[in-house]
């Protein structure tokens, strides 16, 4: 700093807007940016035009002094109006946790929110199908939407799918009113769909995803009431790379998972079958043969997998890097030997509380496969997040 700057009194105001934008974008901390905007109207306008993302203090994952200063139960229609009117170039908006927001607040999306690409409405319990239709109306270029625990129904999902054709990532976890017909509308209407999270949607059997686009690479259907026909529908797109069907509710599933190995899921890389207690050797053999690109497979608590299954994994899973076998009651030394002799790419084995594995068997494994790390932890969630997926044709 220096006195020399005092001489050029109004020069900076003669700079064109795009130069001021350069200066604004150079500032990287919130305080500086806010100070910039408070100097005068023109600089405030520059600040407003350059804001691309916004989320409220109580959104999950944000912990800090600001999260204590205002409860999200205070956020209402008026707040949303002020925010959207001020920042009209927003591309990312999160209202997650704003439990008092009503449908009518979303009517401001049409005049002000048309550039939005990502919208999060997690736990917005008072939003109904009408509110979702306002989202479709106002944000036609939406690519990512999160509706965790929302009371959207199939009709609402259909309206959304018909309006937002560019949707790529959709989170419907814990939406109790969604069923296969809503899913069908989504998968048929949005042909660029890449990732769908339908975990804990009790009304979903999976058939709604039949004929989905090959761009659908990620499905998270943990704790769903899937049926064998639903599994076939899930893989029918042909592009699946990440599949999570942990805690499969249906106990009569038995060989129903064979469909995963039927060839449609040949690109599968990560498969989570944790706590699928009734999955049989026949299914394991089919999957091991039909999914040659598998890199990570979670079979923790899959008690019905026996020697035949383990042997098939050993001899067919040439790309497997990580395998989870925690608490598998029927992993015996023969099975472990089959894994030991196969799976050449294995680098991590998650193993704990396997009652039929003796210390000797374990030591033999370590001796022969000293490059495999053995970890005792139980990992519930594997693979990337639903909103971090990018479809890549070449991989």
């Amino acid at each position: 700093m220096g006195d020399s700057l005092m001489d050029g009194v109004t020069s900076i105001m003669l700079l064109p807007d795009d130069c001021l934008c350069f200066i604004f974008n150079f500032l990287d901390c919130r305080t500086d940016r806010e100070s910039f905007g408070l100097t005068c109207h023109r600089w405030l306008n520059i600040q407003n035009l350059n804001r691309r993302s916004l989320q409220f203090p109580c959104s999950f994952g944000i912990v800090g002094p600001s999260s204590l200063s205002q409860s999200c139960t205070d956020i209402n229609s008026f707040h949303l109006y002020r925010i959207l009117a001020r920042f009209q170039q927003l591309e990312y908006l999160s209202l997650s946790g704003c439990v008092e927001i009503l449908d009518s607040a979303l009517s401001y999306l049409k005049p002000y929110g048309s550039k939005l690409q990502t919208l999060c409405l997690d736990c917005c319990f008072k939003i109904s199908d009408y509110g979702i239709s306002l989202v479709g109306d106002g944000c036609p270029f939406l690519t990512t939407i999160s509706l965790y625990r929302c009371s959207i129904t199939d009709a609402g999902l259909e309206a959304l799918a018909n309006a937002c054709l560019a949707l790529r990532h959709v989170n419907l976890a814990y939406c109790p009113c969604i069923s296969d017909s809503g899913l069908r509308a989504l998968s048929q209407g949005c042909r660029e769909l890449q990732a769908v999270k339908i975990s804990n949607c009790r009304g979903v059997s999976g058939v709604g995803l039949r004929g989905c686009s090959s761009t659908l690479v990620y499905i998270d259907a943990e704790c769903c009431n899937l049926e064998p026909e639903g599994i076939m529908s899930i893989v029918s797109g042909g592009g699946l790379k990440f599949l999570n069907i942990a805690s499969l509710s249906c106990s009569n599933f038995r060989n129903g998972l064979e469909a995963i190995g039927n060839g449609f899921a040949a690109r599968l890389k990560i498969l989570n079958l944790r706590t699928c207690r009734s999955v049989t050797d026949a299914s394991i053999v089919a999957i091991a043969k039909g999914c040659p690109q598998l890199q990570e497979w979670n079979l923790a608590l899959c008690h019905e997998v026996r020697v035949l299954g383990w042997a098939s994994i050993g001899s067919n899973c040439h790309n497997l890097k990580k395998l989870h076998v925690n608490r598998c009651r029927n992993l015996c030394h023969q099975g472990l030997q089959a894994l030991r002799d196969g799976c050449k790419e294995l680098s991590v084995l998650y193993m704990s509380r396997n009652s039929r594995i003796s210390d000797i068997a374990l030591e033999l494994f370590k001796l022969y496969r000293c490059n495999v790390e053995i970890k005792a932890e139980e990992v519930m969630s594997i693979g990337p997040n639903w909103d971090g997926i990018d479809y890549d044709e070449s991989t």
Binding site: D7, G8, S11, L27, E34, T39, Q55, P57, R82
Partner: protein
């Protein structure tokens, strides 16, 4: 340090200066105009520009110097180059923006940005740059309140 290929550039105030072509094309604008004029056949090309001020000369000077100095001295030289008053900074900014010279633009942006960062509050920014406060007290209060609502 003349190479075989030189550009002759004329500024609006009719000053002509010779610049090595490799330096001249660091300006995106000149690069575009050069390719349009098809300079390959000519050893000395003459490009007519329509700049607005003498600051063009400074811009070219910077680019020329940039290429002559060894790396260690470069950052020293750069910080001295930008230690000018606001009027000159303004001219440099306009030149860099018009001629589309990225390195110059980054340098000037950083200089101004550092000044803003060094200011403790809004009032100091206004004083430093001579900005007139055109907010009513209530408007300013509203903006501060809006700022406190949300998180980046």
């Amino acid at each position: 340090m003349l190479l075989s290929k030189n550009s002759a550039l004329e500024s609006k105030d009719n000053e002509i200066f010779e610049v090595e072509e490799s330096i001249a094309i660091q300006s995106e604008l000149i690069k575009t105009m050069t390719t349009m004029v098809n300079s390959k056949a000519y050893v000395n090309e003459r490009n007519q520009m329509v700049p607005e001020a003498r600051c063009r000369k400074q811009a070219n000077y910077h680019v020329e110097q940039n290429n002559k100095i060894v790396d260690e001295e470069l950052s020293d030289w750069e910080s001295k180059f930008f230690e000018v008053d606001m009027d000159d900074l303004h001219e440099l900014f306009m030149a860099a923006n018009y001629l589309e010279i990225e390195s110059l633009l980054n340098g000037v942006t950083k200089r101004v940005g550092d000044f803003i960062k060094a200011c403790k509050n809004v009032e100091v920014i206004r004083q430093t740059f001579g900005i007139n406060n055109d907010f009513a007290a209530q408007q300013e209060e509203e903006i501060r309140k809006l700022n406190s609502w949300n998180h980046i």
